[in-house]
Symmetry: C2
Subunit: 194 residues, 2 copies
Amino acid sequence: MTTTTKKTKKEIIQEAAAHLFRDKGYSATSMRDLAEAVNLKASSLYNHISSKEEILRNICFDNAHRFISGMEEVEKSGADAPAQVRALLSLHIRTAMEDATSVTAFNDEWRHLNEPYLSEFKTLRKDYEQRFRNILTAGINSGAFRPTDTNIMLFTLFSSVRWLYDWFQDGKSLSAEAVEAEVIELLMGGLRSS
Amino acid sequence: MTTTTKKTKKEIIQEAAAHLFRDKGYSATSMRDLAEAVNLKASSLYNHISSKEEILRNICFDNAHRFISGMEEVEKSGADAPAQVRALLSLHIRTAMEDATSVTAFNDEWRHLNEPYLSEFKTLRKDYEQRFRNILTAGINSGAFRPTDTNIMLFTLFSSVRWLYDWFQDGKSLSAEAVEAEVIELLMGGLRSS
DNA sequence: TCTTTGCAAACGAACGTTCATTCGTATCGT
DNA sequence: ACGATACGAATGAACGTTCGTTTGCAAAGA
């Protein structure tokens, strides 16, 4: 037995759900699909979770908080803007490769949340984006980054990391570290002034 | 009345569907939603289209062919690799801004196609990707691009353009031309060697 | 007149969810 | 050591709703 910290059934269900949501999307995943994936019948799921949306909600907010925590660490590191952007890119890339479903939730499936959670999530997201923009602005002001619309910089960085979970699951040739290094170099090269 | 070449009802339905698919996703869009969007009842849609999936199919393949046509033009232009990449980036960016739904179909919703169309679409896509990779390889061999895994280059370029339709619809400050120029500069800066 | 278009009604299938019940196991009072 | 009790976990059946789609018929246009 490896380092398996015993998972609760709820955690097993959430992970299976995240996997299905990534592959087929939230709406196209039925509770019967999910039940089959964890060797249960649909009705049994409700001994562990209270609704389909609760599962999505947990996935979305868990990962929102993961990114926000990363942002907090980066902010108080006191590093310069390029180093902060590198650290955040690393966080996004690592997360996308280690837990592909996080990025899916963060990017694609949150729109199926119901109110008031939808608004709450959007607020978290906007906050994260604003703090990222602040770093980019600092980098431009310090002369490290070529002057560019920070929205364009921000969203280009964000979404250029989206493909990782589409692609990394086919067990590709490169190691995670190599992928991370190359992507970061590619994107930082685009930001650099001079 | 602007330059409206008279649209058939089928075209109107397809455009409304594309819009809904982008906003809510294919699975979460019902035929009753779609009917309401074109001021019809659900049953009336079937006088013009034969199934929900046919709509998706048309959207996916129309746009696949649009990108493939662009690729063909670029290939026979005889330009060098950086110019070819610029041209293809321009195509992707323009398309994303003028017809946001295309990129959604191309990137996200095609997975809901049924066989045999799913396989057919995947083949078209793989073909397009391979031809893009060939251009990137040529750029590396000529010394214009920093040596990098072409898959990483390819998917980074592809997906870094995805955000445009999420963002451009909120009527933003920058003109389409400005956005295009900045994004291309950002991405080409990352590819460049030296 | 004949084709095209629209609609109300209805279809079976699938959806998320609830319910009463059952089974196994742990905890308790005695 | 014993039966009584409680409880977590699983289930089949059924609920009401929504899904994509079909049918039959009326109105409109050619």
